[in-house]
């Protein structure tokens, strides 16, 4: 169960917005790493922030009997991961997220990570970032309401 302060936090900032900023900062750090082979200074917090947000609520995220809160958190992430992986297999998508999370955490701790794993993590973050980006209609036209995701 989440602590009280975590709840307040989740209630204070739209989750997709938080995910957008966190994955954006982390993706940027990975892109720089892929070019320079060095983790940029001051990016530890960003990497850990993104890693924390990629954590699914359990190993079997969409099993029956879960609460709305747990489902929604996982569905946002899995739908985003699906964009990167083009897979319908929930287990595979969950693994992709877990691997990305590990990569971010290892880099944040200064541990060595193979470049191909960083490249995969970067692509996953880019896909998540794109999938939670705001889709705004032109304000010069009548806006038909679309559903915000997440």
């Amino acid at each position: 169960m989440a602590t009280n302060s975590e709840l307040i936090r989740s209630h204070s900032l739209p989750r997709t917005l938080e995910l957008r900023v966190a994955t954006g900062k982390a993706a940027e750090a990975l892109a720089i790493f892929l070019s320079t082979n060095q983790v940029p200074t001051n990016s530890t917090e960003s990497l850990l922030w993104a890693a924390g947000l990629l954590r699914l609520s359990s190993d079997q995220p969409l099993r029956s009997g879960r609460s709305i809160g747990a489902y929604k958190r996982d569905v946002t992430l899995l739908a985003a991961a699906k964009r990167a992986k083009a897979s319908d297999q929930m287990k595979e998508l969950a693994t992709t997220l877990a691997t990305t999370r590990n990569t971010l955490e290892q880099l944040a701790k200064g541990q060595s990570v193979p470049t191909d794993r960083v490249q995969t993590a970067f692509e996953t973050l880019e896909a998540i970032r794109a999938s939670v980006a705001a889709r705004r209609s032109s304000t010069t036209e009548r806006i038909l309401r679309g559903r915000p995701r997440g």
Partner: protein, 446 residues
């Protein structure tokens, strides 16, 4: 060419204008409430914070040895991210600033709104801000903290700082104090729900086969969550405010929505009325002779509402199979859980926050005073009368005793003209507002 550099230039312009708007609002701070002043201080920190963060990231990309195309793409993405942030957070904050001046809102209810928020979410230490919106509805929104937006505090929030929660009311109905029962009942009900986690921990039964389809499941969950949160807020409104929660809501809804029309975010007014009648009857209000006919008539209006199929406005893509399927899966799922939700809300609500039919004689006494043109904010022992009693009394006069109030204003036949009827209601609203003001002053002394 729409390059990263051009995006940056456009973004700089947006941030400059946002900053200028904040500066202009700061000039009027003497008329602002405590919450609004805090919001402006936060906005004032947001723009410089965004610029500093943006510049540092831009610089970092620029100074890294990477292919020009990669750098260009990263910088474009950075601009887009900040544009999204400004688009997401800016309008809400500016809307609150624009509508929050003391002349635009009934300041008499601000202290009692804050007290209700404190009771609804004890320990959360939230500051409420009341603002007037041009839209014909009420709303409650949490205002993101700039520091969180920028990601500088990825851990926990220091509990010493007060978070902000903004309540809107319809600008044209500034003095319609009776309608503001929706604010104190339903909207504060959402705050109770966030604090008590009724919606968040509720278990929806997912239709068979949907669990493996994140997109379809996402729509179903969004929709289901929104409907559950609305019915929970309605239940809390009935439990804490009593009959006035039911009486005020349909009146507001009739102005803004058709009786049987659903939306992705809200069940139709008819479904909500049926639920509220049910909750009030369970609380025993249906046994009160003065209330029974009123509740019965609302029950007739909304009979069998939860058995109807989904009915959506034209602009929604209801024609698509996906939306129709999701909506029609949500209706029975929410209907199935209404009793459970009612029981859960009742169990979680502190006894002191429950409105009770045993207090109805106080409401009738207060309504006697109102019909005589006397404010009802002080009881016979010179103690403050609570806002729930005042609002219920004002509504009871409106729906059942307006003919008694008419002669007080030398209007012997309140049905003589629509104009007279409007005047009567407006006078009654002002009398209720004065009653609340008196009650708050007395409460301050106590």
């Amino acid at each position: 060419m729409w390059s990263a550099e051009q995006r940056r230039r456009a973004l700089a312009e947006r941030l400059f204008h946002l900053s200028a708007t904040v500066n202009s609002a700061k000039g009027a701070q003497q008329e602002l409430t405590e919450g609004l002043s805090e919001l402006i201080r936060r906005l004032d920190r947001l723009v410089p914070g965004l610029i500093t963060d943006f510049d540092a990231r831009w610089q970092r990309i620029d100074s890294a040895a990477m292919p020009a195309a990669v750098a260009e793409r990263l910088k474009s993405e950075l601009c887009k991210e900040i544009e999204d942030l400004v688009a997401e957070v800016g309008p809400l904050m500016l809307r609150v600033v624009a509508g929050g001046e003391s002349t635009a809102v009934p300041v008499e209810i601000e202290t009692c709104l804050q007290r209700q928020v404190d009771q609804a979410a004890p320990r959360w230490n939230w500051t409420s801000i009341l603002y007037a919106s041009p839209e014909y509805n009420y709303s409650v929104e949490r205002i993101p903290d700039p520091q969180q937006v920028l990601g500088h505090t990825a851990g926990t929030i220091p509990r010493t700082r007060r978070d902000l929660v903004a309540f809107s009311l319809p600008r044209p109905e500034r003095d319609a104090i009776g309608l503001h029962a929706v604010l104190l009942g339903h909207e504060v009900g959402h705050v109770r729900d966030w604090f008590l986690r009724v919606t968040e921990t509720h278990r929806l039964v997912i239709p068979k086969g949907w669990r493996s389809q994140p997109d379809r499941l996402g729509i179903f969950l969004d929709w289901g969550e929104s409907w559950i949160s609305e019915v929970v807020a309605d239940i809390f409104a009935c439990l804490t405010m009593g009959p006035v929660a039911l009486l005020a809501l349909p009146e507001l809804m009739m102005k803004a929505a058709e009786l049987n029309l659903d939306s992705e975010t809200h069940p139709s007014p008819a479904r909500r009325i049926e639920l509220m009648v049910r909750v009030l009857r369970h609380r025993g209000y249906g046994r009160l002779p003065t209330l029974k006919p009123i509740l019965d008539s609302y029950a007739d209006l909304s009979r069998m509402a939860w058995t109807r199929a989904i009915e959506l406005p034209d602009e929604l893509p209801q024609s698509t199979t996906l939306y129709a399927e999701c909506g029609n899966a949500v209706v029975p799922e929410v209907a199935r859980t209404l009793q459970l939700l009612e029981r859960r809300c009742r169990q979680l609500l502190p006894r002191a926050s429950l409105a009770s039919p045993s207090s109805w004689p106080d409401v009738l006494h207060a309504s006697d005073l109102l019909t005589q043109g006397i404010p009802c904010g002080e009881d016979v022992k010179h103690l403050p009368v609570d806002v729930v009693t005042i609002l219920n009394a004002a509504w009871f006069v409106k729906v059942a005793r307006l003919q008694d109030f008419g002669p007080t204003l030398a209007l012997t036949d309140p049905n003589a003209s629509t104009e007279d009827l409007g005047t009567l209601n407006a006078k009654l609203d002002l009398l209720a507002l004065k009653s609340i003001e008196i009650s708050e002053v007395l409460r301050g002394r106590v």
